[in-house]
Each structure stands twice: as C-alpha cells, then as structure tokens.
C-alpha cells in the first residue's frame, strides 16, 4: 500500500510537482462526516479559497447547526458558532464591527432555508457584504433525515415516508430564484458537486463570491447541490448520479446574479 504523505508541500520528491494537496487553511483532523458526504468536498473548496486569496490571517467563518456544526475543527482560521439558522445575522455583526475581515457563513439547507430563512432573506435584502457557502442536500442530515423545504416532490424522508406530497407541504423552495429579486444581492450561483468538472465550476463560482466581498459589492451566495448518501439511503456513487438525474431538474445550475463588473 502507498506511503502516507499528509503535508506534502515540504516533502515533494525531486523531479515531481505537487498538483493536488489538502489546503493549508485546513487542519489535519479527519472529518466526522459519513462516507461520500460532500461536506468534506465543500470544506476543502473553502480552504482552497482562503489559501488562494491569502486570507488566512483575516478570515472569520461562521458555522451552522447541522452536520457541519463542528466545521471550526477543520480550519486553521477563526470561526464563530451561530445558533441554528442565525449565521447570516452573526456574520452581519462580525463584518460591521471588523470590516477589513473576510467573513463567510457555511450553512445547510435546513439551517439556511428552514429555521434561518428570515435571517437569510434579510441579510440579502440589506446587501450585507458577506459570503454564504450554502450546502443543499435536500434533507435534515444531522437529526435523522427529516424533510427539508428543499426536499424533492416524491422524496422519501423520515417525515414524508410515502414521498413528499405537494398538497401537504407545497413545492421545494429554490433559494437562488427566491433571492434573485433582491437588489442587495451581488452574486448568486448554484452548482452540483457531482463530477470533477462541476467541482471546477464550483471553484470558479466561489472565487467570484469571495471577490464580491473583497470588492465591497454586497451579499454573495453559492449553492452547492450535495449528496447525503446516508439519509437518502443510497451508496455514495448512486447519490452522485441521483443529483445529475433528479436534483438538477428541480434546481437548475448556473449563475443567477453577477454584479462583479457593475
């Protein structure tokens, strides 16, 4: 079996270039997420942004309640833990007090679109100069797989055991579409984390969202369509395929708003 090199930057062997490694903004602690969960992938992309824009010494992240509640364990910069759904309000306070800091929230769909919907909409409407990294896996992962506002019609969850019924619980909330009417929003994009190509696109969108804040443009949000293999009852591979086959039909990917050049 191959040798273990955890921090390869300093150990790159002669004649080779390191083309992929764990970002320096991340700690060595292994993630507590289930096998195949994209929280780890999205964390890594956040870490890459902090490295790439050299923001390590002036970043404050805000953690959600949800499976990513321990996100602060995985990054080397400062993070605040918000109560459930309140991350955009906490980020508003941090950014207004310390405007030279890069301030972001990292939130699931239960956190951002259910209990925290008011905070999300009002932070966006105020045009707060913060960046939101939003993980939409269509379910409450942490608490045992209950239906979220973003669950698909027909999706079986522990609180919609025969499949989500629109007559009972309405249609899925599309966060990007919902926020796109607000003038305070500077950047909005959605992308599935379902292939290396889409992950590259996600990186591009995240760069734009970071730039928005650094250039003082206002509220920026990137929605990552992610698998929750355990609560969906699928293998990690099947969950990735399900995103491409089903989830993107309801949540179309793309850039919704980009005011970087305004």
């Amino acid at each position: 079996m191959s040798t273990i090199i955890e921090r390869p930057g300093t150990q790159t062997p002669e004649g080779l270039n390191c083309v992929f490694e764990k970002p320096r903004a991340m700690s060595d602690k292994p993630f507590h997420y289930c096998p195949g969960c994209s929280h780890g992938t999205y964390h890594r992309l956040v870490g890459e942004m902090i490295d790439e824009f050299d923001l390590m010494s002036r970043t404050v992240g805000v953690c959600p309640v949800g499976c990513a509640v321990f996100a602060y364990e995985y990054f080397e910069f400062d993070m605040v833990e918000a109560s459930h759904g309140r991350a955009p309000a906490v980020a508003t306070g941090v950014k207004r007090c310390l405007p030279d800091r890069f301030v972001f929230t990292y939130q699931g769909d239960g956190d951002l679109a259910s209990i925290g919907m008011a905070e999300t909409i009002h932070a966006a409407a105020r045009g707060e100069n913060i960046t939101v990294f939003f993980v939409n896996n269509g379910i409450f992962g942490m608490t045992g797989g209950q239906m979220a506002p973003t669950s698909l019609i027909g999706q079986k969850t522990t609180t919609s055991q025969a499949g989500r019924d629109p007559m009972l619980t309405g249609q899925p909330i599309k966060v990007c579409e919902l926020l796109s009417s607000l003038d305070g929003v500077a950047y909005l994009a959605r992308v599935p984390l379902s292939s290396p190509k889409n992950i590259k696109t996600c990186r591009k969108y995240m760069r734009n969202a970071v730039r928005c804040q650094l250039e003082g443009k206002g509220f920026a949000l990137v929605e990552a369509l992610s698998p929750c293999p355990v609560q969906w009852g699928m293998t990690p591979g099947d969950a990735i395929d399900y995103i491409d086959e089903k989830v993107v039909k309801v949540f179309p990917p793309g850039e919704f708003i980009n005011k970087l050049n305004d």
């Binding site: 191959s2 273990i4 080779l16 992929f20 764990k22 992938t41």
Partner: protein
C-alpha cells in the same frame, strides 16, 4: 514513486475516486483501516497519469497528486 498517494488513514471507502478515475487505476483493498473502512489504493500505478480527478472527488481531502516536472506544467487546482 506513485503519482497518486491515498491517505488510507482518513479514507472512508466511499469509492468515488474509483468511480471517477478515467484510467481505472484505483481499486478498493480487502483489508480495513483503523476506522474499519476498506481504503482505496493505487492498484495500477503504471496507468496513473497524475490527472488528480480522484483527488478532486475525494470528500476526505485524502489524496495527494504529483506530476513529473517534464510533463506539461498545467495546474489542476487553478482550473
């Protein structure tokens, strides 16, 4: 030395790297790591091109990839 190095300590056996490796260079091992998962490993080092698509998909940030310096200096992480 292998171009693709999997940190078997953090691997959770999700098989996404195996699924997305265009060269079919990776396989799952029979043995288990300390967490009880069957880790992925580079079964066919001769097939590996250092494309890093496996590392891009790994949810554990558990794969490090190198390329030979002679090879074209295109950087995967800036794409």
């Amino acid at each position: 030395m292998d171009l693709c190095q999997i940190n078997e300590r953090v691997c959770k056996g999700c098989e996404l790297c195996v699924k997305f490796c265009p060269q079919h260079a990776l396989e799952m091992s029979e043995g288990r790591n300390s967490a009880g998962f069957h880790p992925a490993y580079l079964a066919h080092p001769d097939l590996c091109t250092g494309c890093a698509l496996c590392a891009e998909m790994c949810p554990e940030a558990g794969i490090v990839v190198y390329r030979r310096q002679k090879a074209r200096a295109s950087q995967t992480q800036t794409g």
